[in-house]
Subunit: 376 residues, 2 copies
């Protein structure tokens, strides 16, 4: 599959025009676009512009309700619960994190739990919002079920990412990771390449470890059982119960505190039913924010400069890879695969946007022309 | 190595008498004893009564200062930083979590970060304190360095456990796990049994995966390099960067927010320099605590009752194993190994306590008589 590189500005304009074309306000379109393109810039293609068409389809199907008005159903000076009423995940999440940040500015710490939302892109985006205001940001979200609990054979948890960001120099600390060993996107990459999966990633429908990507992906799609292992694998030897535990922490802060839907119940009745949680912590609640930032920066420097394993030349601290990817892509463009270009073309046709205004003389390669969308 | 089973009451009396013998008040001795024996009752021998003698030695060496007066050096209605001034980790931690609970009762959420403390037993004990008052409890602690960051060969983080507890029926949610793939205690068990380590646990001094327990343990003791892998192993394929990331989250909340010492600097100058963090969250800050508890209980029931992997007959939820172990040991006694009995005997002699008053006619087996302590 080929990739085209497009400038940030080109994709930004396309996304904005598309989301306003769907009916979002300019301000809303700007938020959704920023979440999507941040993911692409960080090198997380699965959550970037390749999802543009899926959001369009979700709106068409009524999964995402354009007229939803998220509602604060419980609130204290340090907490809130929001019912998203099936609105766009990014808008709901952006506003929920803004609320957490405002509360934390006044009171030091705040947690906002959200129910009845939809897929919101990368969890780390919202953690980074707090970080940009000098705070610790935390966010997590449950997802459609795909993680199988230790010794089980049915997906009962989502990939359930937990993200955290905190100011540091020269790179902020930025951690954003599924609590499952990998995400579904990784399985799909191996599937496309026709390669067996690494040991320790997935389970077949009987709950046995398997490296058969097509079998596992079709079982997941058809709800036949199996799925992805928790971080730590399928037995306690390498800590399966730990990844499963972090997945539970995500469910508790998102779906339990909000009285929302746990991962195993999401998607019911044609609704997303996704739950999130956002927290902001002001370092000023613990002393001098500059001293705390300097202390973290120094520790991260020590980590990067500590002795490397034989054959390795670099130890990364969390956030470095994303910043480097962002700089490279702002310089060299963002890669978009040709199948995604097919979807974008079809979207432009529907929205009566002039495809060539964004992409000039680019034409869909013959081999991709028959692609009819990659909906999962 | 043989094990003797002793009643909870016997060990409770011995611990109380020992800690008051060291010079702690009755109330302090009761706290330390409860932390130690809770660990034994939960089946975590490494952090239980077998550490009694090590605490005694740490006090003798001046690592733990009996006259320390922990000091609140920064405070807001939802947060605090405490300097432990090298006191006993359990006392400092108990009081820090009490402070978090009191603040959370008034304000919904509270976080207390602690520096200059010492080993405090199982992190989960403190999370459970909040849980017993109907709250979500979180706690974490850094430790002596033993976790090697992804692609490194020097231990720069500790085992850095993160614990969380939350009320549920019939079992509370209780999660307490090192962010390293295993703890040092597990390596020592394999060493004693003269067995190779499982793949995916440890690194030799060059940073290569190794199953050679004696080599790894001696490298750790002599600071020659190597150590234990993060949860997720030594490469990104199985998520090494994730375990390393959770270890970082532990460092940030304990050592960074308190401006304390990160794991790689602990133990310097004959001081422990251990840092902790404790958080309490009142579910009432998110709505009806009973409804939230019922929602968690129902999800945990669904998890336990979900289909098992072929060949497995049980899916555990976090906390079940500990409660079952506690019930069994209250009934059948707590197992204490004969080497620990040697240490207890020697401690009784020093404190002029009558060993037989606790342990009747038990005598140290011939093969253990030459044991001179297991200090690591």
């Amino acid at each position: 599959m080929g990739y085209q590189h497009w400038s940030y500005e080109t994709l930004h304009r396309l996304c904005l025009d598309s989301f306003t074309g769907f009916g979002f306000s300019g301000e809303e379109a700007e938020i959704i676009t920023d979440v999507l393109l941040t993911s692409d810039l960080y090198g997380i293609e699965s959550h970037g512009i390749q999802r543009l068409y899926r959001y369009y389809r979700a709106i068409q199907k009524g999964l995402i309700k354009m007229d939803a008005r998220p509602e604060v159903i419980f609130e204290t000076p340090v907490s809130a619960v929001i019912d998203g009423h099936d609105g766009m995940g990014q808008i709901i999440s952006y506003n929920a994190m803004r609320m957490a940040i405002e509360k934390a500015k006044k009171n030091g710490i705040a947690i906002v739990s959200v129910r009845n939302s939809n897929h919101h892109g990368i969890a780390g985006y919202y953690a980074r919002m707090a970080c940009r205001e000098g705070m610790i940001g935390l966010s997590c979200t449950n997802t459609n079920p795909i993680m199988v609990p230790t010794y089980g054979r049915t997906a009962m948890l989502g990939t359930n990412p937990i993200a955290m960001a905190m100011p540091a120099e020269p790179y902020d600390f930025f951690f954003d990771a599924a609590t499952s060993v990998v995400t579904r996107g990784k399985l799909e990459v191996y599937n496309k390449l026709d390669k067996p999966l690494p040991d320790g990633w997935a389970l077949n429908k009987d709950g046995h470890p398997s490296t058969d990507a097509p079998d596992i992906l079709s079982n997941i799609s058809e709800h036949k059982g199996g799925g992805i292992m928790p971080l730590g694998g399928s037995t306690e030897t390498l800590g399966s119960h730990k990844g499963y535990g972090y997945g539970m922490i995500c469910e508790i802060f998102s779906a339990i505190l909000s009285l929302g839907t746990t991962s195993n119940g999401t998607g019911a009745g044609g609704r997303g039913l996704i739950c999130h949680c956002f927290a902001a912590i002001d370092p000023a609640a613990f002393g001098d924010p500059e001293a705390i930032k300097a202390h973290l920066s120094e520790y991260m420097r020590q980590l990067r400069e500590s002795p490397k394993a034989e054959g390795q030349d670099r130890i990364y601290t969390h956030g470095e890879k994303e910043i480097e990817a962002e700089r490279r892509m702002m310089r060299e463009g963002i890669p978009v695969n040709d199948n995604t270009m097919v979807e974008i073309k079809s979207l432009c046709d529907y929205l009566k946007l002039d495809f060539s205004r964004y992409f000039g003389s680019y034409t869909i390669p013959e081999e991709n022309a028959s692609f009819r969308g990659n909906f999962y």
